[in-house]
Amino acid sequence: MTDTDIPPYDITRDARCPLDPAPAMRARQAEGPLSRVRMWDGSTPWLVTGHAAHREVLGCPVVSADPGRGAPALSPHEAEAVKAAAAAPRPAGSNTSFIMMDDPEHARLRRMVTSAFTIKRMNALRPVVQQIADDLVGQLLAGPNPVDLVEAFALPLPSLAISALLGVPYDDHELFQANSKLLINRDTSAQDRGAAQQRLAGYLDGLIEAKMADPGEDLLSGLVERINAGELTRAGAASMGVLMLFAGHETTANMITLGTLALLEHPGQAALMRNSDDPKLTASAVEELLRFLTITHGGLRRVALQDIEIAGQTVRAGEALIVVNETANRDPQVFADPDRLDITRDARLHATFGYGIHQCLGQPLARLELQIAYPTLLRRIPSLRLAAGLDEIPFKHDGFVYGAYHLPVSW
């Protein structure tokens, strides 16, 4: 293959099959677990599409997630933002975005917030989230019919939950939802992205100041303890708060929206979930929906720090890799009949939360929210149905996280 034969990076999903991975990604996957892809800037990183290779790369200790060490940018806007961040004079300790860092600093920072997401804490949060879901469904049923499920349920549920966990007043939700929307859109310019980041950091800093005077049991109060212990600067705590707040609601909101859509499109599966009171089936259904939909699509950016062997190929030190969750999730070697939605299958090896040291920190919270959201909707609104054709639903083709802007439903 000559250099010009390398196919372009293209994650646009097919409008006729909006819940399946992009045709171009499926085509790369069909060629093998590792191939070259041409990026917007002409660079040709490795595209990792197989499930085993996904784990090999993301589990490898000499693979870096740091853009400063050469992890690639998926768009010009992203490259610009990385460049701007590197050039900006920032006070020491203010960069705490550990998702783009390597160990040991990554582990040090991540471990400052992991206590908030233990299974024990999630079990204690369960009645709170159930109450949030029940209240939202109550309001939805009392409101106009049809309604946009995103606005009425899918977005407020995780927003309320993460606000409770962080200790952020939900009354400010317009501020953090609007700015998170800017951060998650891949077409947001570096300038707008920086401004949104700053508005959120300023907001979080004000909250941190309040928690310093009057600490509670929430995650932000936990960060205040770290500031007092000298392990974290105040700016660092605010930046970590932004990451938690932002990552904590857009993702789950999209998953509630698309998961509900997938269940409505598969009425047999929806009936199975509605009529079961087995928490194990609900849990397995959530894993399967996470696998099937792979809202975290497009690829994780990495760079090899040493020569490594992946799927029988040598990846050289300094070469960039784009590791694709959505094709790993449709790998027939791991998931039989991978294009079929089957909520009874064991889908726990799915790649939607990533793999390796950066695997999603908030996954126990996401699971809790989803395990409550779908059955609550299906049982309390048994006649729930789409109020628009599949082709009329505005899907998020421009986001780092896939989803839909609106989902009109009626009952």
């Binding site: 471990r111 992991t114 299974i119 849990a283 726990r348 695997q359 126990p364």
Partner: protein, 66 residues
Amino acid sequence: MKVSVDQEKCVAAGSCVMAAAEVFDQRDEDGIVVLLNPEPPVNLAEDVRRAAEVCPAQAITIEDKR
């Protein structure tokens, strides 16, 4: 079956607790894995294997007694 965990590698995803709560727990202060039973009974073997498989940090090692 003999199980061991590496608390240095652990990233506190909680996947092992979900797969086999009888064998794995988490520290309250940072969510890092705590091994409750290094020699789990046969009836838990499948759950423990699953826990090791879903661990994103490869922090769980299983030694099978033959």
